[in-house]
Symmetry: C2
Subunit: 419 residues, 2 copies
């Protein structure tokens, strides 16, 4: 084993040991630490921004895009949002130790399931250094140790933030190994991390599809992830069209670069002729470029024809695919074929169609008469999220504190034996 | 791709297609099919036993042990237990479609989580052909398609059972691809199956540690498994000793060859001198061979000294490791080091120790004053089980119908947009 691999293994072993001590940390103690972390970030703002400057300068030298620089920058407002994030997580209910119900078995055994931490979480992410703080806060609150591997372009920022968090842990007599940042930027460190299945319980990758595929294919550890968000809205024959337009505009344009933005619009043929002209006009007003099917072009001529490979594409910009479908069956089949099991919407006033769509469509969030943009941990009531999973095992959809735990069986007996 | 790999891929694709059609199958329809399967197994008992005979004869020729032959044999009583299993699964509540609660968000969105099938389950198991029927029944009830890969020694029995189940599916106009058995015995078929991550959602291996490690290391698909069950009982200073002895005897001897049998006994030193002689006598009466620590041998001289490698061993026979510990801290540390996160028990009348053990010990089932043998889906109230997981992701402990499903978010809106 070379130096990098053995360093990573040491970190994983230390993480496992830290995780054991976090299991019994009280909610009060965890909340206190989280609030002190917020205060420490505030107090050491200059240090953070100095270190961040090193990353920004290196990024400029490398010629990174202004969008990339923007994501990298720890401005005052980003620092304040990290602090607010820590305070929010402190305010959330602690899932650890929760027993939803217990049942008495016929032999008198009292059986329940208690929420317990997962153990050690490995987080692999790109550019945004604020993820370092957000992910560490969620993992700590759920009683897990975390090993963070951020992008090389944010290495100074990530190390500075981790240092501040670890200093607070040490002040509170909690092992700093509860929050570790991998300090080397070699890709080998990721590969080494993904083989630590004895010590790391879960890997969460966040970033581009390439990174996530690499992690998923290499890892010996379970991975929760989504590759992409190809989200659809189906406008049913019975949709309330006055309501439909703002929902479509919001889904597509409110933040087009994120995974829960709209990428494909399906319109029932019975309303297409009446509805399309005004909808397309509104979309164009918002700068949306439409790639349409042949039948759509027959109705609104100045739509760009979609090619076969456009269907199911995650554009992450103001491009939208538009297809006229014969009926709901075709819409559901289209989503089955082209969707990414992320977010799927029906707009309808028809009760039966709404219920059928909810029951039959397979996606992490299936919604009626709502913008796609609500598939988000905060919006759905989880408080906040560490990511969204389109994997069906363990978590499907946004992952909050509860998804960073598991449930063990607990049993209270009086000397029962099995016969 | 060679013939075996491409055949397996075809099966996986057909399984995925079948899974889609099972999502909307009603509980009534599923229960009807399960009961008809029980009737069909009864009616075609001769066919089953004829095919089973082929396996038994081949096994005899190969010189398999009588224990193996016993596990392979589909006797009348095994056939009746398969029928009873189908009837039990039909009687269990259907988890699919369950929404435990819904919450109204401040913006009026009504948000809940609905249980949905996982999709396609791959089951890899050894010798016992009755697993074919038990696993198929659970998967079908939870709305999943299943691909079964049994041991080569049971191939005729497994094919016969699958044929009967598939005939019933066809009679009920359900695609027979919902229950598929891999008909070739080459190991390559397993390897090919484990690469079908696009079409198979979960792999459950059951068998020896070697098989499970092979599956786990090879699979691109999430695997739920336990490698072994190294279960402990800690007899606290405040244990009710009259209650302790029958619990220990039951845990060790009721069925020593299974994963929830007792393998390690930890005794608080303050009671060891008084308690050990009578306990050892009782264990010996039940044929238990004890491997003890030095201090135990000082008290009862005719105990075999344990070697370092004995601690944490899964014996699966009447051998038991016995260690005297200074206190509960040492017991918990011992379990942390030598346990397999399967089943851990404290025997005590001390309230604080009971609660501390429940909270601090990391295992799929942590119990007070109970036999280890209760860590079983049926015994803990799941109805029945498809296996036990010591993986923390998705399921920890026995896996019943609920663990064969996941939860998607469902949202009912009135045209909400995100601001």
């Amino acid at each position: 084993m070379n130096t990098i691999a053995s360093d990573i293994q040491d970190m994983a072993i230390r993480g496992k040991k830290a995780a054991r001590s976090l299991v019994t940390l009280s909610t009060k103690a965890k909340n206190k630490v989280l609030l002190q972390m917020a205060a420490a970030i505030d107090a050491r703002r200059d240090f953070i921004q100095e270190e961040n400057k090193k990353d920004l300068e290196a990024a400029k030298t490398k010629g990174l895009s202004s969008a990339m620089l923007d994501r990298l920058k720890l401005s005052d407002s980003v620092i304040e949002s990290m602090m607010a994030g820590l305070e929010e997580v402190a305010a959330l209910p602690d899932p650890v130790g929760e027993v939803e119900k217990m049942n008495k078995r016929p032999n008198g055994l009292l059986v329940g399931r208690m929420r317990v931490p997962l153990g050690v979480i490995g987080m692999i992410y790109e550019s945004r250094p604020n993820v370092t703080v957000d992910a560490a806060a969620l993992c700590l609150k759920a009683g897990n140790a975390i090993i963070l591997r951020g992008g090389s372009e944010a290495i100074h920022s990530n190390r500075a933030l981790a240092k501040i968090l670890q200093d607070v842990l040490a002040e509170e007599a909690i092992t700093p190994d509860a929050i570790q940042v991998i300090a080397v930027t070699d890709r080998e460190a990721v590969t080494a991390m993904l083989t630590q299945e004895e010590h790391i319980d879960l890997i969460i990758p966040r970033g581009g599809e390439g990174l996530i595929r690499f992690v998923s294919e290499t890892s010996q550890i379970p991975v929760l992830k989504h590759y992409k968000g190809v989200c659809h809205i189906y406008v049913d024959a019975d949709a309330d069209l006055a309501q439909a337009t703002p929902v479509i505009i919001n889904s597509k344009t409110q933040r087009p670069g994120v995974c829960n933005a709209l990428e494909g619009l399906l319109i029932n043929k019975s309303i297409a002729e009446d509805y399309l002209p005004s909808l397309v006009e509104e979309l164009k007003k918002h700068g949306v470029k439409i790639l349409g099917c042949k039948n759509a072009i027959k109705i609104v001529s100045d739509i760009v024809p979609a090619t076969e490979s456009d269907w199911g594409t995650e554009f992450l910009n103001l491009t939208l695919c538009l297809k006229i479908v014969d009926d709901m069956d075709e819409a559901i089949s289209y989503i089955y074929t082209h969707g990414s099991r992320h977010t799927e919407i029906i707009l309808t006033e028809n009760y039966t169609n709404a219920q059928r769509f909810i029951n039959e469509v397979d996606a992490s969030a299936v919604m009626v008469n709502s913008s796609t943009r609500f598939n988000d941990g905060g919006q759905l009531g989880l408080g906040t999220e560490i990511g969204i999973s389109t994997t069906k095992l363990h978590a499907y959809g946004p992952m909050g504190l509860e998804e960073l735990t598991t449930r063990k069986f607990i049993v209270y007996g009086q000397g029962q034996v099995r016969t």
